[in-house]
Structures are given as structure tokens and as C-alpha cells.
């Protein structure tokens, strides 16, 4: 069973959405993701360009630890997505991670379009949950 964890952070770096499969080791995932936030920040500030094309939204492999690979993605509004997968999951290629981020970004924009969603709230949309679960099941 592959481990995969997805977190979303607001521009102020507090979590908007956390989902991990399986549910054990969540704490470790969270820790890894929090440390990866630093890397995300560094990359975001390092980019420095005003461009906002997809290439720069996808931050790629933030850093590989011995067990997990952490991928980052930041939206134009500085909402950060972080995906942690265990290194044993070698079937996950970079482009697959990219597509996952794209799907997430789309779902997130759908959530944003909901008038009843206040930016900064934890995301409780069923559709969003469904998409995330589907993605995790698919990759896990």
C-alpha cells in the first residue's frame, strides 16, 4: 500500500486541507510537509519572476528524503499544494505528479468559485474530497 499524503496551505501557511492515505503515519507526513514548506517558500521567493506559467507553478521534487519524495506546487494566489509519496512508489512519474497537481488546482478553483466558501476556510467540499480520494486511490 503506497503512502501518499496531500496537503494544501493557504498563503499564510496554515493548512486548508489535509488528506493522507493510509491514515497511519499521518504525523510523520505532516512533519515532512511542514519542513517542506520551507523549501517551497525558498523556491517561490527564488523564482522572483512575475510570470505565472504552469512551469513555475509546479515546483517539482522539493527534496528527497530517504523514504519520501515531496513535491510542491504553488498557485498564483500563493496557495501551496504539497504531495508526499513514499519512495517505494516508483511508478509515480513526474508528469503524473504534475497531472495530479493540475487536477487539484482545478478542483480547488471549483471550490473557490463556490460563493459559500470563504478563502482561508478549511475545505469541506464533497466534490473536492471525492476528487482527492479518487486520485489517491488511483495512485496508491
Amino acid at each position: 500500500m503506497f503512502h501518499i499524503c496531500l496537503l494544501m496551505f493557504s498563503p499564510q501557511n496554515y493548512p486548508l486541507y489535509i488528506r493522507s492515505v493510509p491514515c497511519q503515519n499521518e504525523l510523520k507526513f505532516h512533519y515532512t510537509v511542514h519542513t517542506s514548506l520551507d523549501v517551497v517558500e525558498e523556491k517561490v521567493s527564488a523564482v522572483g519572476k512575475s510570470l505565472a506559467d504552469q512551469r513555475e507553478l509546479y515546483l517539482g521534487l522539493l527534496y528527497p528524503t530517504e523514504d519520501y519524495k515531496v513535491y510542491g506546487y504553488v498557485t498564483n494566489s500563493k496557495v501551496k499544494f504539497v504531495i508526499v509519496v513514499d519512495s517505494s512508489n516508483t511508478s509515480l512519474r513526474d508528469n503524473e505528479i504534475r497531472s495530479m497537481f493540475r487536477k487539484l488546482h482545478n478542483s480547488f478553483t471549483d471550490v473557490m468559485c463556490n460563493s459559500f466558501y470563504n478563502p482561508g476556510d478549511p475545505i469541506q467540499s464533497k466534490a473536492f474530497n471525492g476528487i482527492v480520494c479518487g486520485m489517491m486511490v488511483q495512485t496508491g
Binding site: 508528469n95 471549483d110 468559485c113 460563493s115 459559500f116 467540499s125 464533497k126
Partner: protein, 792 residues
């Protein structure tokens, strides 16, 4: 435990109740909470309940097993019948009516009151019927319900004594609709409920101008007294029990036979459970029931729709316009539904995900809110009838829609318009990338060149197609997202390094097929005076040294500038794999071209090498010129070494150019003069490095030949000479220095282009270097991490 014999009716009823209480789904133990609620609902004094509990043995056991539960139920029936509670009476009492339960839920107190009346009546037909009868008229559109109500009342009555409480259980969920709807007619009644509800609401709401009043109106019916039929109506879709459905239908017909009643009980019980538990299931059930011949439960009636439209107008006068999200949010917040549910409703109804509601979307959202207020659980997917494009204003069309169809049709329809522009674009992007890769790859090698290059290109293409099979996926697929030139070129260069010339060529072509490099190449080609199509330079064989630019001119310049480093390009040239597709040797090409050069080129020993690729390079005079220069120079120095040097330099240049993927090629092609100069420079180097693969210089020469072909051959040599003269100190170069300015300007232009190309190449290489360093660092980190483990 005392043995318990239950009639079939009782058995069924009790098992249903047990299932209802079996919240833990253990199928063995009924949870105490539910059981106690049930017992409380039996309207028995608490002492009696305690006694029953004790008698059935649950107190002893501490929980309600199935047998205890059944015994308890029987005791309840006994108690409700007024008989003394005794264990012996369990089996002795015959024809015991089933225990009645008045379930008290949120707003069911009023219903309790009503049911008390009903229960008190104790009759089969009396009070419930009487209780029911007055109510319907109280409601607006009840009239049409009257007859059906009356007919169904008896059934309702019959049911009620049996399980009035159970009927009442679901009532709270559909307070608005129930009062006048008799359970048997629930299929119809469900719809009627909605109609009436909507109608009633419409009536009320039409009276009330403020939209806020709408919500209060919604509240009122909920608190109004509701009889058991409410349950039926609200949960009109009984659990998928065909018999029960049929019983429902039969109810509508006439008084159902008593045998159907037990079926109703299970269905009712199950209804109460299912309704409470699974929203979508209920909806599905409803829809199923509807599909069995009734209206689509989610269809909007005319009155409803009109009402919605009126509400829409209050916010947005233009019916074809959009309601902004904030206004819609305000509007629906007035419904006092929890934000989470409103959010879900929005998700369902905002079909195009634009944050605004069209009229259809607004009606769908409003309809969902109304349904939710009435206790209907929200569907998981937007029902088909609520789809913006599917909402039919003609609600009279009662087309049964299979639930599956509704559910599933909703999903794909929802999915398709799903706003994921980037996803499709992504999915298309890759095919586009691949295609563009292929196109560019095809284009690159296909540039219409004259013979030598054409043939060469064809060869390249062949090799590319072959190589595409080898690595089409990973590089192509991985590459498309990375549209940066830097990332492309370094990988392409790496890739090139890993493959043969042909492969490298193709790979580099494919890599560089991205629009940017393509355009770059194109532009460069456009910049070339010859205006030949940009032909991606044949993939240079893996070159360890990437300092070489494809432009021979650059090389030449460098060599010119630093004539002291003759050997530099050559070693790099040496590295070129000999797999470069054979190019017409300069000598060969040069042969047919202008005389002196050709001859000069053909003369040296390298001519043998050169001639290998001759067939394709017949016409190129400028090459010949270069070669002749080389040859001449070589002849002056080392006849054999010159060609080698020339080849080296040319190869190196060719490699560089190929590394530069196209632009280099164009640059290379830009300057026959450059090449010539470079050739001369190379020759000037004089060092006899390892033989560069003949194809290299051939290739270069091919390009230059191609580009130079359109040129005036005469000019070529002249240019060559002109360039050679100032640049080289080769006395052997004896070109007519004609049109110096033109040649110089052309060469300058070409050199500039080469510079840009090289600069770009340099940046890409830097990027590549950075990536490699990062990789190295990460690997080192991993190694360090593993190191301690090795000690363990």
C-alpha cells in the same frame, strides 16, 4: 428466555424494527439507544418500559439481543393492548396487534400530539382517518388530494394502528408535505407534496414580497401538524422492495389488503432508516419509485418554477443574465440552512463553475434548497431534471426517469462540462507536444534542402524515427511540460550525448521540437541569408565538450581569435562519434563546385575521407571553398592533417551546432564564409588531432553547402576568400577578394547569430550543470543517510 412464537406479520415487523435499532449493524444486538428510543416511542409509562426490559432479559444480559428485542416488542404490544405484562402472556395472547411506536423526532412533537390522537383512538379506522380528513382541507391545494386521501385513509388508518409511530418517524423529514398526503398515495403524494408544497409556498410567497418571508413560510409547514402520511410522502420511495412498491400502488387503488400492510411496515421502517441514513439512497429510491411510473421527484413544477423565476427577477431583472455569487450567497443564506449544505447545493447547481448563477442554475439551487428544507436529503449529483440545460419548463411531462439514469446521467453530464480547462488543455498539450515534437522533429529534419542536406536529412529522419521509438515517451512526455529552452537543450544535449549521431539528431530534433526552439531555429534560419528552412543540425554525436558551437564561424572566430588554441576544437571534434550519418565529403561536394576549392579540397589525403560522402555534396562550392582553404592550408602544413583538422573543426563545429539543435545548424548554415573561415582557422590550427569523423565536416559542409547553394557560387568562394584573407594568415588562401564588404557583413551577421546561439547554449548548459549538481548533492545526501545504516 421464554420461547417466543411470532406470527409472520409480527416476525416481519419485529425484524424490521430490529434492523432499525441495529445501528451498529451487528445483526445481533440492538443498540440500547435506539431500543430505548423505540420503547419510549411506544408511549408506555417508563415503569412499564422498565418492566418490559427486565422481562425480556435485557437487563440481565445488559444488551438487547434479537430475542430480547422481540420479546420486548411483544411485551410492548401486550402493554399497549392493556394486558398485564407477564411472560406467560407472550405466547398466550393471540391476535395481538403489533406494537405501536410513536417516534418523536425534531418537529414530531406536534405529530406526536396528532398521533396521540390517532393512537388514542385505538381504532383501525377512526381517529386517524378523522384526524386526517380535516387537515387536508386546511391546506390550499388539498382538494385534489381529498379523494385520494380519503381512499387512502383507510389504508392509512389500517397502517397506523399497526405502526403509527413508525409512520410518524419519517414525518419530521417531510413536515411540509405530509399532512394531507396519505401514505398509500405516496408515489403520487410525493409529487403532490412537492406541488402542494410549492403551490402552497407559492401562494404564500406570492403574497409575501420579501424573500426572507419565503424561508419563514418554509418553516411554518414544518411546525404544522403532520400526520403519518407525511412520512410516506417524504419517503415515498420505500426501500427497494418491489412488493412494497406494488403495495403502494395498490394503496392508491383502494384499501390495501391487510397482507400488504406488513409489507408496508418493513418498508416504512426501512424507509425511516434509509431516509435518515442515506440521502442519495432515498433520493434514488424516490426516483426509483418515480420511475415506476411517477414524476421525477426533482422536477420543478410550473408553480415552483414561476416562483423561482420571480425570485430571480428580484435579484437580477434580466432573466438571461447572471446572479453574482455574492448576491446568491446572501439570498440562500436567508434559508437558514447550514453553510456546508448551502455550499454543497452551490456545488451541485453551479453547473459551469463560474461563481454565478444563471436562471436555470438558480432554479436548480432554489429547488434543492426547498427540498432540503423539506427534509429531502441532497443528492450527490445534480439530478437530471435540474440540469441547467435539461430543466424543462413543461413540468407536466411526467417522464419516469430511472434512478440510475438520473444519477449516472447527471454525473457524466456534470463531468463533461466540468471546468477543467487546464486538464483538457494539459491532456491536449501533451499530444500537442508530442505532435509538435513529431512535427518539429519531422520538420527539422525535413527542411527542404538541396540534395546533400536533403539526403542527409532523410537519413536523419530515418534515424530519428528509429530513435523516436527508442525514446519517444520519456523524453517527449517528460519534456513537454518543460518548455524551457534551457531544460530542453541540456537534456537534448545529454540525450544526444547518449546516442549516436543519428539518434542524437532525432532526439535533439524531437526535444527541440518544442515551439521555442523551433521558432528559434526558424528565426535563425530566417535570419540566415539563404533563408533556407531551418534544418535542425544533424544531431551531433555525443560530445563531451559543449563548448563548441555548431556555427563553424564561431569556432572559426574563436580559432581566429585564439589561434593559439588550435587543438581545442579538435579534441572535442575527436569525441564525435563516427556515427554521424555520412555526409558528402567536402571533397566530393567540392569536386563539382568551383574549381580551385574543389580541387584543393579534393587533393589532400582527406579527400579520400571526404569523398565518402561525396554523392550528396556535389554542388557546394562554399564548402569547397572552405575545404579548399583547409586543404590549401593543410597542404601548406600537413596535407593529411589538414583534412583531419578540418574535419575535426568542422565536426566540432557540427557537433556544436547539432548540440545547439537547429539554431546552431542554421548558424552553421549561415556562414559558408564562416565555415570557410573556420575551416581556415581549423586548418590554421595545424594540430593534427585525431581524425574527426568524416561525416562531421561533411555535415557541416552539407549545411553550408545547402545554404550556400542558393548563393552564388562564385560569391561563395569570393566570400570565403574575402573572409579568409582578413582572418587567416594563410598565404595559401588565395581568393579573389571581391565584395569584401558584403561578405564581411554577412559573416558578421552570421557570427552574431552564432553568438546568440552559443550564448543560449551556454545558458542551457549551465542549467544542465546546475541540475546535475543538484542531483549529485541529493545523491550524496542519500549516500550519507545510508552510510550509518551500513554500520548498524
Amino acid at each position: 428466555m421464554e420461547s417466543l412464537t411470532l406470527s409472520d406479520v409480527e416476525q416481519k415487523y419485529y425484524s424490521e424494527l430490529f434492523v432499525y435499532c441495529d445501528t451498529d449493524n451487528t445483526k445481533k444486538v440492538a443498540s440500547n439507544g435506539r431500543v430505548l428510543d423505540l420503547f419510549r416511542a411506544a408511549q408506555l409509562p417508563s415503569e412499564v418500559v422498565l418492566q418490559i426490559t427486565e422481562l425480556c432479559g435485557a437487563t440481565r444480559l445488559g444488551h438487547f439481543g434479537r430475542s430480547q428485542f422481540y420479546i420486548a416488542l411483544k411485551l410492548i404490544a401486550i402493554a399497549q393492548s392493556g394486558l398485564p405484562l407477564r411472560v406467560e402472556s407472550l405466547n398466550s395472547v393471540k391476535d395481538l396487534p403489533l406494537p405501536r411506536f410513536v417516534v418523536g423526532k425534531n418537529e414530531a412533537e406536534a405529530r406526536h400530539a396528532a398521533l396521540y390522537q390517532d393512537a388514542d383512538s385505538q381504532g383501525l379506522y377512526p381517529a386517524p382517518g378523522t384526524a386526517l380528513i380535516p387537515r387536508p382541507p386546511g391546506r390550499g391545494l388539498q382538494n385534489k388530494k381529498g379523494p385520494p386521501s380519503s381512499t387512502s385513509l383507510p389504508a392509512h388508518e389500517v397502517i397506523q394502528p399497526l405502526a403509527p409511530s413508525i409512520e410518524a418517524q419519517p414525518e419530521p423529514t417531510s413536515p411540509v408535505i405530509s399532512p394531507h398526503q396519505s401514505p398509500p398515495t405516496s408515489p403520487h403524494s410525493w409529487r403532490k407534496h412537492k406541488r402542494q408544497h410549492s403551490g402552497g409556498n407559492a401562494d404564500r410567497q406570492q403574497v409575501v414580497a420579501a424573500t426572507g418571508a419565503v424561508w419563514t413560510q418554509f418553516r411554518e409547514p414544518q411546525t404544522g401538524p403532520v400526520t403519518g402520511d407525511g412520512m410516506w410522502s417524504s419517503h415515498s420511495p420505500p426501500p427497494p422492495l418491489p412488493p412494497s412498491q406494488e403495495s403502494w400502488v395498490s394503496f392508491t387503488a383502494d384499501t390495501p389488503p391487510s397482507s400488504t400492510l406488513p409489507a408496508m411496515h418493513p418498508s416504512s421502517v426501512q424507509e425511516s432508516t434509509t431516509i435518515r441514513t442515506v440521502a442519495s439512497a432515498a433520493t434514488t429510491n424516490e426516483i426509483q419509485r418515480q420511475s415506476s411510473g411517477y414524476d421525477d421527484p426533482w422536477k420543478i413544477t410550473d408553480e415552483q418554477r414561476q416562483y423561482y423565476i420571480n425570485q430571480f427577477k428580484t435579484i437580477q431583472p434580466d432573466l438571461t443574465g447572471l446572479i453574482p455569487g455574492s448576491a446568491a450567497k446572501e439570498f440562500f443564506t436567508k434559508s437558514k440552512l447550514p453553510i456546508l449544505e448551502l455550499s454543497h447545493i452551490w456545488e451541485l447547481s453551479d453547473f459551469d463553475k463560474d461563481g454565478a448563477l444563471t436562471l436555470d442554475e438558480f432554479c436548480a439551487a432554489f429547488h434543492l434548497v426547498v427540498a432540503r428544507k423539506n427534509g429531502y436529503d441532497l443528492p450527490e449529483k445534480l439530478p437530471e431534471s435540474l440540469m441547467p440545460k435539461l430543466i424543462d419548463l413543461d413540468d407536466s411531462a411526467e417522464v419516469p426517469e430511472p434512478a440510475a439514469e438520473v444519477g449516472y446521467s447527471a454525473s457524466p453530464v456534470e463531468v463533461t462540462p466540468n471546468k477543467s480547462p487546464s486538464m483538457p488543455s494539459l491532456n491536449q498539450a501533451w499530444p500537442e507536444m508530442n505532435q509538435s515534437n513529431e512535427d518539429t522533429a519531422i520538420v527539422h529534419p525535413v527542411p527542404i534542402r538541396m540534395t546533400p542536406s536533403k539526403i542527409h536529412m532523410q537519413e536523419m529522419e530515418l534515424k530519428r524515427t528509429g530513435s523516436d521509438h527508442n525514446h519517444p515517451t520519456s523524453p517527449l512526455l517528460a519534456k513537454p511540460p518543460e518548455l524551457s529552452e534551457e531544460t530542453k537543450l541540456p537534456p537534448s544535449m545529454k540525450f544526444v550525448a547518449a546516442n549516436t549521431v543519428g539518434d542524437g539528431y532525432s532526439s535533439s530534433d524531437s526535444f527541440t521540437s518544442d515551439p521555442e526552439p523551433i521558432t528559434r531555429q526558424r528565426s535563425q534560419s530566417g535570419a540566415s541569408p539563404e533563408a533556407l528552412k531551418v534544418v535542425a543540425p544533424p544531431p551531433p554525436p555525443p560530445r563531451p565538450q559543449q563548448s563548441h558551437s555548431r556555427s563553424s564561424s564561431l569556432d572559426m572566430n574563436r580559432t581566429f581569435a585564439a589561434t593559439a588554441a588550435p587543438g581545442q576544437p579538435q579534441p572535442s571534434a575527436v569525441a564525435f562519434p563516427p556515427a554521424v550519418p555520412p555526409r558528402p565529403l567536402p571533397t566530393q561536394s567540392s569536386v563539382p563546385l568551383t574549381g580551385h576549392r574543389v580541387e584543393a579540397e579534393g587533393v589532400p589525403a582527406g579527400g579520400a575521407v571526404l569523398t565518402t560522402t561525396s554523392p550528396q555534396q556535389i554542388p557546394q562550392q562554399p564548402n569547397f571553398a572552405d575545404f579548399s582553404q583547409f586543404q590549401a592550408f593543410a597542404a601548406s602544413e600537413q596535407p593529411s592533417s589538414l583534412p583531419d583538422i578540418d574535419k575535426h573543426s568542422e565536426a566540432g563545429q557540427a557537433d556544436k551546432i547539432s548540440e545547439g539543435a537547429g539554431p546552431l545548424r542554421t548558424v552553421k548554415s549561415d556562414g559558408p564564409a564562416d565555415e570557410r573561415t573556420s575551416a581556415t582557422v581549423n586548418s590554421a590550427k595545424g594540430s593534427s588531432g585525431p581524425l574527426a569523423p568524416p561525416p562531421k565536416p561533411v555535415r557541416r559542409r552539407l549545411k553550408s553547402e545547402d545554404e550556400l547553394r542558393p548563393e552564388d557560387e562564385q560569391i561563395g568562394p569570393q566570400k570565403a576568400t574575402a573572409i579568409a584573407a582578413p582572418l587567416t594568415s594563410q598565404p595559401s588562401i588565395s581568393r579573389s577578394v571581391g565584395k569584401d564588404k558584403k561578405a564581411i557583413q554577412a559573416s558578421i551577421r552570421r557570427n552574431k547569430e552564432t553568438n546568440t546561439v552559443l550564448a543560449r547554449l551556454n545558458s542551457e548548459l549551465q542549467q544542465q550543470l546546475k541540475d546535475l549538481l543538484e542531483e549529485r548533492i541529493s545523491l550524496e545526501v542519500q549516500l550519507e543517510q545510508l552510510r550509518p545504516f551500513s554500520h548498524l
